[in-house]
Point group: C3
Chain length 362, copies 3
């Protein structure tokens, strides 16, 4: 678990925020243990190349841009945006094998997505819809955390919000009542949907700084976690009785969260996130308060997840006891195992896969 050695390859991973790749940048980022160089050509299109010269493995991110080409600054090989080597200083003949992998890359709504597997299978329609990141109807500020932990410990966290009552008791969560709410979990093709309602409770602590209501609220968190680790979440609170399922969300505080967990190595991860608010759009204080609360809350998550990683490293074979609250988590892990096994052309070894129900009311 802490030492998973195979990553899903035929999938889109979030590699960076758009703003990280300025016009002049040569951004080095390791994804699924593969070093990747991200940069923009003169037309502003993002290019993703393997960050490892085909000659002696020097990183191209220490190289030099020459127009729309990158020169390796160890021995001078020059590469085009498609990864082809177009110049070798000491010889005229350029062998066809002289190339680095060019990774399919898409810039969409402020996120840079790269496809780590077979380029022929890179289907842009598989990229989840995160338009909220860049929609004038929503406001939010980009966030990033680096984790010294396996990526699945982070997706585990996202798939079971019962932790809000404990990890985030005084920030994003609130009373223990939240943990008792039973979500509806639906297993879709490449994602798990979680729908969770908490009826008639006090607003979450962070929300009390953002909006005032005369009494209790109904709270909802309705979200998909899509392989390999993208969360898309409709959440909010509204006065009790108005927000409940099929309710009208009158006087509601509505949010949309986009989060992406990308494995760097087996024991380190990238975590990109933006929590957007769909109310008080012109109130910068709301945006700032929300951002600060979310960041503080995500540091609470990081603290417990790093602790979990340390415990697991003492004994990688630590058994874990499945609970009802793990339905979404177990579904997602089973889905991930199956996707990796399918990719490797083998049946999943884990017998627990069959036991993971496709949809469960828990």
């Amino acid at each position: 678990m802490g030492t998973q050695t195979t990553f899903l390859k035929n999938t889109w991973y979030v590699a960076a925020w758009s703003h990280e790749i300025s016009a002049e940048a040569l951004l080095a980022r390791t994804i699924t243990r593969v070093p990747v160089l991200l940069w923009r050509d003169r037309a502003g299109r993002v290019v993703a190349l393997e960050d490892r010269c085909c000659h002696r493995a020097a990183p191209l991110s220490k190289g030099r841009r020459e127009g729309d080409r990158i020169r390796c600054m160890y021995h001078g090989l020059l590469f085009d945006t498609d990864g082809r080597c177009v110049e070798i200083p000491s010889q005229d003949f350029i062998p066809p094998a002289a190339r680095v992998r060019a990774l399919p890359v898409v810039e969409r709504f402020k996120w840079i997505w790269v496809w780590m597997g077979d380029p022929a299978r890179a289907d842009e329609s598989l990229i989840p819809d995160t338009h909220y990141l860049d929609d004038p109807g929503w406001r939010g500020i980009p966030g990033y955390l680096h984790y010294d932990a396996n990526y699945l410990l982070i997706t585990d966290n996202l798939l079971d919000f019962s932790h809000l009552s404990y990890v985030h008791e005084t920030t994003l969560g609130g009373s223990a009542k939240y943990a008792t709410a039973r979500p509806k979990v639906t297993r879709l093709g490449r994602s798990v949907r979680v729908e969770r309602w908490l009826i008639d409770d006090a607003p979450a602590p962070y929300l009390q700084k953002l909006k005032t209501w005369p009494g209790n609220v109904d709270r909802w968190n309705i979200y998909d976690v899509v392989l390999p680790g993208v969360l898309l979440m409709d959440s909010g609170s509204a006065p009790t009785g108005t927000g409940a399922p099929q309710g009208h969300r009158v006087d509601a505080a509505e949010f949309f969260g986009c989060q992406a967990v990308t494995p760097e190595t087996e024991t380190t991860s990238h975590y990109f996130f933006q929590q957007c608010h769909g109310f008080a759009l012109d109130d910068a204080v709301v945006t700032e308060s929300l951002t600060a609360s979310v960041h503080a809350g995500f540091l609470e998550d990081k603290d417990i997840i790093l602790a979990q990683q340390r415990i697991l490293e003492l004994d990688p074979d630590t058994p874990m006891l499945a609970m009802r609250m793990d339905t979404a988590l177990a579904s997602f892990r089973a889905m991930m195992e199956k996707a990796i096994a399918d990719e490797r052309g083998a049946a999943p070894a884990d017998a627990t896969l069959g036991a993971a129900t496709a949809s469960a009311r828990c």
Copy 2:
């Protein structure tokens, strides 16, 4: 040696000083690679639980005390002092497997002892007598060092005091004469006894700060090292002729030392110690001077042991040449190997075991 991977489990280990576990504390300490949480119930009794929630392996030491229970602050499982889970937020049914290990624990004379193996075999009568730590007839101050070295390198050090002449030449030891004294080594059931007398020599450097005699002294170190690593030592100095075996210890400086080496992992260790003096009980300066000298001396040990660990890590198969001075050390290591092998139900692989004499005048 630097990479021993099996620890003795059916034994008492010193886990902490009593004062480390205050009324409110949740003390996390790893012992034989097992994370342990130590705390006190409201009656003041120490509780030792595996510091790893049975659900998702989060450490309970990041949890919250609720009366005499501990709540895991990841997903809210609540545990009783016996390790049983008594509440799971999202479900009413609590499976019998929902529990963490409760480790037998005994608080005695300021040390907290935990039993890392089968609880049914935890026999308190096996705990060595360290009443000196807390006896009004003796004075001393608790000490602790953390080591980045295998625990057996520390017990090796304790089992051969010929190092006093070299490692502690200007502190606890003294002249090279000490190293030439030949101890009597007796192998008992679960311990090795070392008896060492040095007749008619100058008092050790540290002792010259504590007490004045007109001439030379006789020095003795009579101690047991008990599995898995507890030293109990009667030592002292008296004017030459009075202190010698069967002597009357007239005008003597008598000490009793209690030390415990507890493996944290294969390459890290805990070291607990208190050197007590049985004379000048009301003179705080003596206690302070003794404590400072012992601490300085133990840092000298740590320096050479860490250096030894670094050398061994370059080549874990480094052969070592047995000397006569290694009799106690070799007996203890053989006893430890046999105890571990017995515990695993296998014969010890090491043929040197047979060669370790049960008692030797060396």
Copy 3:
């Protein structure tokens, strides 16, 4: 490559600069994963002993000199300069096995050479001639860098100077023209010779601080890299037409460089170097400027090599595509593989060996 686990043993390695071993020094240095202690006897002769007591593996470098002997300051064993134990505190009998390895050692021209293999085969005539380090006809200042990288990545760097145009563009190198110059590579018995001329180009940036010419220069780098990693280099520049092969080197700036790469472990290395100038001998500013330029340039090498090491650690099986510029590098690596295989009495496993041409105009 980044994890080569076998080192050549029957060879001389540079272990230290003479000045590092002062009269009182006990210098600890690990070479090919073997801890070595270097010191001088009272006659000033350098002694090299395995830095690991035969008793319990404590390093002798934490010991004490007693005349021409070293006492281990753990348990007091005393060793002679030939590695023989001559005193064991607690016993009169000294077993013949009580000794540490004494390594053949030669001090020559400010470098200390040690032989890590069979002493019977230590032939001083195999030590490369580095008299320039200590010759009144040359001036230079000793340099040293420690590398967290495999030693062969450093020798790779030395064997292909096409990197001067890129890594050292503004320091030791200059225009891209340098990289296009095709060296003559000759494979000798235990070394590879590289001869590289660049005709009619601007002087290298660093050289412009040292000497002024009216126009362009011819530049040469003629060097041997000798197993296991010693570079001996005649280099310089002279006005175009005078310096060319068989030229007279009129008004030339001539240099001689001595460099030695010594593996510490599989992933760390020692790098000793001195660049000497053979002109302006009495101008200390020239010596200082040259030293500063070379040091700055070697830090540029270190930067790219450490980056290369990091990339290789992500995937030790990274394939590398051979180029014409790799002729010397490939020859040297094949020679090294064969030497190691010969030493182990086995045929080299790597089939590329046959493909490495003994001499090639590339």
